[in-house]
């Protein structure tokens, strides 16, 4: 088994006097597609932010590619990790392509991005089904269209770790499936993906590993392939969830 690319070492994080995360430990290896789940306020986004270097943990540290995160300047970190935010400001007056090209910030050296950078951005936009928005002003895009452009910017960054804070937000069902298929492909090629999501069925179908945060720590850490055979982890998300047999012979999560 390969060495972990992300290694979370006893992370705690408090907001004022409230402990949000308490001594979290977590290793993620290249090729893993991890769904981070849990109720509102469980600390999912906080955990992603800490791994992305956006928040400093109160105690503990994160190793990225075996180096302490706190010792890596942001331009080195950005070559390893891309972060898809939950949302960005919606009134941006730049073209969608310019937003995607921002993913090339650490790679591009010139005043304007090179032809190579633009080719990489175009490829990322094609994969995220947003080439057709290339010349649209970001503020005129719908929520789902914008989300695809943001994902393309993360791909254009060519990272080794993708941190996705609710990547399926605003996406229609077809695009949610496309998005998770794409992320599974990326993981298949050696990317480590961590995605915060509330959709247990998407997570169980596409991810390789499911993590449920509850009570300030990792309450469940299960293999997605067998997750629906022992559904205790579901009850940490909601007591009203249950596993049912689907008509196609697979199992799926239904509501009570």
């Amino acid at each position: 088994m390969s060495d972990p690319i992300v290694s979370v070492r006893d992370i705690s994080w408090r907001a004022g006097t409230t402990a949000v995360l308490d001594r979290i430990r977590l290793d993620v290896r290249p090729g893993e597609f991890v769904a981070v789940m849990g109720r509102n306020g469980a600390g999912k986004s906080t955990l992603l932010d800490i791994i992305a270097g956006l928040r400093a943990p109160t105690t503990g540290d994160v190793l990225l590619d075996s180096r302490a995160l706190s010792e890596q300047p942001s331009h080195e970190r950005a070559r390893l990790v891309a972060h898809l935010p939950q949302t960005i400001r919606t009134d941006l007056s730049i073209r969608a392509e310019a937003l995607v090209l921002m993913g090339r910030y650490v790679h591009a050296t010139g005043w304007f991005e090179s032809a190579d950078d633009r080719a990489i951005a175009a490829e990322a936009m094609r994969r995220c089904h947003c080439v057709q928005f290339r010349d649209r002003i970001v503020s005129t895009l719908s929520g789902g269209e914008r989300q695809r452009v943001l994902l393309a910017a993360c791909f254009a960054q060519r990272p080794r770790v993708l941190l996705l804070d609710e990547p399926a937000t605003f996406l229609d069902l077809d695009q949610q499936l496309e998005c998770f298929t794409l992320l599974r492909e990326e993981a298949g090629q050696g990317m480590a993906c961590l995605a915060v999501t509330h959709d247990v069925n998407l997570a169980a179908a596409f991810c390789s590993r499911l993590i449920v945060l509850a009570e300030r720590s990792v309450a469940f850490d299960v293999d997605a392939a067998t997750a629906l055979e022992s559904p205790e982890w579901l009850h940490a998300i909601s007591p009203r969830l249950d596993v049912h047999p689907a008509p196609n012979g697979r199992r799926w999560v239904g509501y009570r």
Partner: protein, 330 residues
């Protein structure tokens, strides 16, 4: 291969440079006194020195000053992601004004080798910057709404103090203060202009050179940080640079704030939000706008002069409202 953005940028920046140079060459000839062009050509006084000394220094001051204020305005708008962020709303300019007014009131003509008004403006701006930044700093992060609120609060305190100082001074200082507060341009010594250009020039270039970082920050601080920019360092550098640009300019021209708000907005509505294009154009067009307004002010009600600050507000204000109304500005 040149991309579309690249070509657009080159066209706009070239056009703005051409207009800038044309303004520098032509505007000195605009004024209330009818010039004898033969005398100018043969370098004979008084016509030659009116053009080469009085009007040229004044035009250059307007060109550089308007440019500096417009660049500082676009910088603050990108950094704070707020349409209203300018050296004015952040209190820096009013702080500089207070400093300048105090030095006029105390008759400090020369302090530490440079003009007393200039020194006063810098101290005032630095003081306000310090207060606003420490008020808005929480958990090692600067909060945007905190900066704007603190800026507006400090703005009104400084405004009140200016009134107070103004009221307490004698007749002659009081006249000088009102004259300064109107925000007009005047002929200045070429040595002062040189010093001013030596501060503003490199600083403007340094700010524009970081345009890719301002673009990232305009999307969001988290976005910028995870794309690889060093956010805190950029923000501190940006505040310092923008404040020095504003303070140095306000010290020489008085408070002519509108350029910093209106020029970046007009450009963004036409060119989009890429600071690599907006910032250089803001410098050149900002300068041209202020210099043209100043030239217009010289002839509009001649022999009386309408201050350039008033003309910019008369032209820029309605235009801005019209753009908002039309929905081109968001």
């Amino acid at each position: 291969m040149i991309s579309e953005t690249d070509r657009r940028a080159r066209t706009w920046i070239s056009v703005s440079i051409v207009v800038f140079v044309a303004a520098a060459l032509l505007l000195p000839f605009v004024g209330p006194t009818r010039l004898d062009y033969h005398n100018v050509w043969r370098r004979q006084d008084p016509d030659w020195s009116i053009v080469s000394h009085l009007r040229l220094s004044r035009t250059l001051l307007a060109l550089i000053g308007g440019g500096a204020l417009a660049v500082a305005g676009s910088l603050f708008q990108s950094m704070l992601r707020d349409a209203l962020a300018t050296p004015y709303t952040l209190g820096v300019s009013t702080g500089a004004s207070l400093g300048a007014v105090i030095s006029i009131a105390l008759n400090w003509h020369v302090a530490v080798g440079i003009g007393g008004v200039w020194a006063g403006a810098f101290v005032g701006a630095a003081f306000v910057l310090l207060i606003v930044m420490s008020a808005a700093r929480r958990e090692r992060q600067l909060s945007v709404s905190g900066l704007l609120l603190a800026g507006i609060a400090i703005n009104s305190v400084c405004g009140a103090l200016i009134l107070l100082v103004h009221g307490l001074t004698g007749m002659s200082q009081s006249f000088a203060i009102s004259r300064w507060l109107i925000g007009g341009l005047d002929a200045i010594e070429f040595s002062t202009l040189g010093l001013y250009a030596a501060i503003v020039g490199p600083l403007t270039v340094a700010v524009i050179a970081q345009a890719r970082q301002w673009n990232l920050l305009a999307v969001g601080e988290a976005w910028a940080a995870t794309r690889g920019a060093s956010v805190s360092r950029s923000l501190v550098k940006g505040y310092l640079a923008g404040s020095v640009l504003a303070a140095a300019t306000v010290a020489l021209t008085g408070p002519i704030g509108f350029v910093g708000l209106v020029v970046p907005h007009l450009l963004r509505s036409r060119l989009g939000g890429d600071d690599r294009i907006v910032m250089p154009c803001a410098f050149f067009f900002g300068g041209v706008l202020l210099a043209s307004c100043d030239a217009l002010g010289r002839v509009l009600l001649a022999p009386a002069e309408v201050p350039a600050g008033a003309i910019t507000a008369f032209i820029g204000g309605p235009h801005l409202v019209w753009l908002v109304r039309r929905g081109t500005l968001r």
